[in-house]
């Protein structure tokens, strides 16, 4: 699952460029047609409704959501109010009242990232990303087996023209 539509908004491009230390553009906001930073495609995560590395304020099942992984009630981060169903989605794994949860399957660490630019991403674009799995391979590391997984995402504009092709490789250490 990825973003369905990725609108390239001026304020978002501004915030992203600021985080990379860029000076604000003249007039304060990027204008329609301005090129976004070279790595901006990665911010499509904001528009992926199921992006796993974004916390969701906890919602009781009764108010929506369907199924989802269940974590032990009363476990770390899994507090369930009396009389409520278990959470519709797994609770966030970061720290709160306790230090957080060890999690599996949130993508491992980022090993490689490659972008091919057919043209720059521009403010005002509405991109449609589509992601497919690429190669998968394993390597023996110093502290266990490393599993590499490749994902390829094509970003097309509304006319269906390819804008950016992104290839990312993540690595996960297998418990030895």
């Amino acid at each position: 699952m990825g973003a369905l539509r990725f609108p390239v908004e001026a304020g978002h491009v501004l915030a992203f460029a600021r985080a990379l230390g860029a000076a604000d553009p003249p007039g304060g906001l990027p204008r329609a047609g301005d090129a976004a930073p070279a790595t901006f495609a990665i911010a499509a995560a904001q528009f992926d409704p199921e992006y796993p590395l974004r916390p969701r304020p906890w919602t009781p099942k009764a108010r929506g959501g369907s199924g989802g992984a269940s974590l032990p009630k009363g476990g770390p981060g899994g507090w369930v109010p009396p009389g409520e169903e278990e959470p519709a989605e797994p609770p966030w794994h970061g720290s709160g009242a306790d230090a957080g949860l060890v999690t599996e399957g949130v993508g491992g660490l980022h090993a490689e990232q490659h972008f091919t630019y057919h043209r720059p991403i521009r403010v005002g674009d509405v991109l449609v990303p589509s992601t497919r799995p690429g190669e998968a391979w394993e390597k023996q590391g110093r502290s266990g087996r490393l599993r590499f997984r490749e994902r390829i995402t094509e970003f097309r504009d509304e006319a269906g023209q390819l804008v950016v092709t992104a290839r990312s490789v993540s690595v996960q250490r297998e418990a030895s």
């Binding site: 978002h12 915030a15 992203f16 600021r18 985080a19 990379l20 230390g21 860029a22 000076a23 090129a35 976004a36 930073p37 070279a38 790595t39 990665i42 911010a43 995560a45 904001q46 992926d48 992006y51 590395l53 974004r54 916390p55 966030w92 794994h93 970061g94 720290s95 230090a99 957080g100 949860l101 060890v102 949130v106 660490l109 980022h110 090993a111 490689e112 990232q113 490659h114 972008f115 091919t116 630019y117 720059p120 290839r167």
Partner: protein, 155 residues
Amino acid sequence: VTAPASRRGAAALRADELAVGQTFETVVVTDLKRTQIVQYAGASGDYNPLHTDEVYATMVAGYPSVFAHGMLTMGLTGQAIAGLVGTESLLRFGVRFTAQVWPGDTLTVRTSVIRIDEADGGPVAEFSVSTMALSATDGEGREVMSGYAQARLAA
């Protein structure tokens, strides 16, 4: 090595201003703050607590502290390359993340011209890219990211 600071905000380099073997160095962050990592998390949408939650990173995940998103390092590096050739001219940019970037690190991007080819639509330059971190705590330097970039230059 060409002085990089003077290039900030300067126009993109033209083909006749580049030669194979040239190397540019750009300091892209000095004493990286945890707050800049948080700023990047918010802008990119990647809220992995390994990067923003010191309690989680140290007590649950077992790291000495939070560390920067690889994509923050790549993004900062991309800004340095864009400062040389302009974002508009980029054709390819790819990296491998080789070591973690910690709060307090100072990052320097080294961009070297590997080749320049004449192509339809103008000369195309290939760069090797290496980002080095200097640690505030032990003063030790190390490569944290390496890769390549390709750009179509203004003739």
